[in-house]
């Protein structure tokens, strides 16, 4: 072990002031295993690992799948910094357009936050729970430890391959070798809860988020039930119980009220709601989408946009009276200011299919009026023409 390594392995108190402000006697507390600004020597195994991950990060940094909006990036970054304290400068957040529920952390400080997570968290406290969990993996060097423990087998190669490819991929991960071990997941959960409560976030929100993710998984009737999240994380029942236990202990010893900060969160996500949900629809996860839309309605995302997606869902799901259900949802949407222009087009096509050509024409005109530069203008104009009208 080099001198640098020895220093890095010193246990460092995370935040003395935080501990004083909130004496969590009941919960086990964890400390980071390296100092802020740590970088392994290039000729060590860890240095080699970082080198590989740095290469991945260069690709990620210029990926077309990055969400580059400065405000959203600032929002997530600020939250990470709040949680990570002195370690903030070592973490780089990349928000990735991927509708699955996931976030990931790499040993060199690269953090991925998927848009599917942003669609499922209900408030800042829930996002803080996941970010805190990821920061926990990072501060405890879990990935390096896991890799070292697997190093002598074929599973080490699978593990490395997994770490290096899972960043942007939707499903490229084999479930054989988990990114982290079960104990590491529990440790990261506890560490994450410690970090979030030190910043005053309601610990029970961590429990609520995992419960929801579980329920969404159970609602899935269309597929095999292997989500990306459960491919890389142990089944959540035990984790939820452990989190509940810790949350109870923390709440008993609390000195001030915890917050969930729902409004902050919704203000940050709402400008991107339409775009993130469009990506989500490509998953064709109908039962899960029903649950998700119900949650979004309760949270207060723009009703016109929720109704738009309800209509789209009915059209995709089919079933009894689906056209009537879709029509009701679309009509409710255009009653609001938040309705996307595409709602008129959806209604136009819906009427065209049920041979209500007059109603279709009205909606198509409204669509073109609100989207004069629509790239499908010629198609819409075709349906407005006598030939197109006779077409269906």
């Amino acid at each position: 072990m080099t001198a640098g390594k020895a220093i890095s392995r010193l246990l460092v108190a995370l935040s003395v002031s935080g501990l004083l402000a909130n004496p969590l006697v009941a919960a086990q507390t964890y400390t980071p295993v390296f100092q802020p600004g740590y970088r392994p020597a290039p000729d060590t195994d860890e240095g080699g690992f970082w080198y590989q991950v740095d290469k991945v990060e260069r690709d990620v940094a210029r990926s077309p799948q990055l969400v580059t909006d400065p405000e959203l990036n600032r929002y997530v970054n600020d939250l990470v910094c709040k949680l990570a304290g002195d370690y903030c400068s070592g973490i780089r957040v990349y928000i990735i357009k991927n509708p699955h529920f996931n976030a990931s952390m790499y040993p060199n400080g690269m953090m991925h936050v998927w848009t599917g997570l942003l669609l499922r968290a209900e408030n800042e406290a829930q996002l803080a729970a996941v970010l805190g969990h990821e920061i926990g993996h990072y501060l405890r060097s879990h990935q390096i430890d896991r890799w070292r423990s697997l190093r002598n087998g074929a599973s080490a190669a699978i593990f490395l391959d997994m770490v290096l490819t899972m960043g942007l991929a939707t499903m490229a991960v084999a479930s054989g070798a988990s990114a982290f071990g079960r104990d590491q997941e529990i440790e990261a959960d506890q560490f994450g809860m410690d970090l979030m409560t030190k910043q005053g976030y309601e610990p029970n929100e961590a429990v609520n988020l995992w419960r929801y993710v579980n329920a969404e998984q159970a609602a899935d009737k269309s597929k095999t039930g292997h989500s990306i999240f459960f491919a890389t994380h142990p089944q959540p029942k035990q984790r939820i119980e452990k989190l509940e236990e810790t949350a109870r202990a923390v709440t008993q010893h609390k000195q001030s009220e915890f917050v969930s900060a729902e409004q902050n969160y919704l203000s940050a996500i709402t400008p991107h709601y339409l775009e993130f949900m469009e990506d989500h629809f490509e998953l064709q996860e109908y039962e899960q989408t029903e649950l998700l839309l119900l949650k979004h309605q309760q949270l207060g995302y723009p009703q016109g946009q929720i109704d738009f997606f309800r209509g789209r869902l009915a059209m995709l799901q089919k079933g009894a009276d689906f056209q009537a259900r879709a029509e009701t949802a679309f009509l409710a949407s255009i009653d609001t200011a938040a309705a996307p222009a595409e709602t008129y087009r959806e209604l136009g096509y819906l009427y065209l299919k049920s041979r209500k050509n007059q109603e279709a024409a009205t909606m198509f005109h409204k669509y073109l009026d609100s989207q004069p530069d629509a790239s499908d203008r010629k198609m819409i104009e075709f349906y407005l023409s006598p030939i197109g009208n006779a077409h269906e």
Partner: protein, 193 residues
């Protein structure tokens, strides 16, 4: 060693020979029968031996990474364009009530899922088009491959008697897309259905 080496050489040659037959020549100016329609290319193409779907034929000129034309036809209600490659990302089925607008989404999701969900396919410029004298449609696609290469393309299609017919052209945006487009237009215009 004396015994292993010849065996190794034999195995390797067998593997190389097996790898020699993935493409067959598509001759220029000869009508080619596809699923439910025919086209006449103006240039030579290479037809891949693999099939993305039971009713999908793939042609390429410079290799699929650089350009490809997928010719699909006779897709009935409930059938998908491509075979499933990932059970978590099932291919969406075509239904006979689909309009060009719906087919646009169908193509988008099918291409995305065929790339393991790793590409975000953009579509635009949906417009009416001639498909072998029938009323059809066309639109543009563009996407970055997982390795970061920008691809552009054109899709021409039609729904006739409840069956879907489609040609999906995509090529590296840099140089290849434009250089192959005149030939692709020739193929598009040659449809007999």
């Amino acid at each position: 060693m004396n015994k292993v080496l010849p065996a190794l050489i034999l195995t390797l040659s067998a593997l190389l020979l097996a790898a020699c037959q993935p493409y067959s020549l598509v001759r220029a100016n000869n009508p080619v029968k596809l699923n439910g329609y025919s086209v006449t290319p103006g240039e030579e193409w290479n037809k891949a031996s693999y099939k993305l779907g039971p009713k999908a034929v793939t042609w390429t000129s410079n290799g699929e990474v650089l350009d490809q034309l997928i010719l699909i036809g006779d897709i009935g209600s409930g059938e998908a364009l491509f075979k499933n490659t990932n059970k978590n990302l099932p291919m969406p089925p075509f239904t006979s009530d689909m309009m060009p607008f719906d087919v646009e989404t169908l193509v988008k999701t099918s291409l995305k899922n065929s790339a393991n969900g790793e590409v975000e396919v953009n579509t635009e410029n949906l417009q009416p088009a001639n498909f072998g004298g029938k009323s059809g449609f066309r639109f543009n696609i563009s996407f970055y491959t997982a390795s970061g290469l920008l691809k552009s393309g054109d899709v021409l299609g039609a729904v006739k008697d409840g069956k879907l017919y489609l040609m999906i052209y995509s090529a590296a945006d840099l140089h290849y897309y434009k250089s192959k487009l005149p030939e692709v237009e020739k193929v598009f215009a040659s449809v007999i259905i």
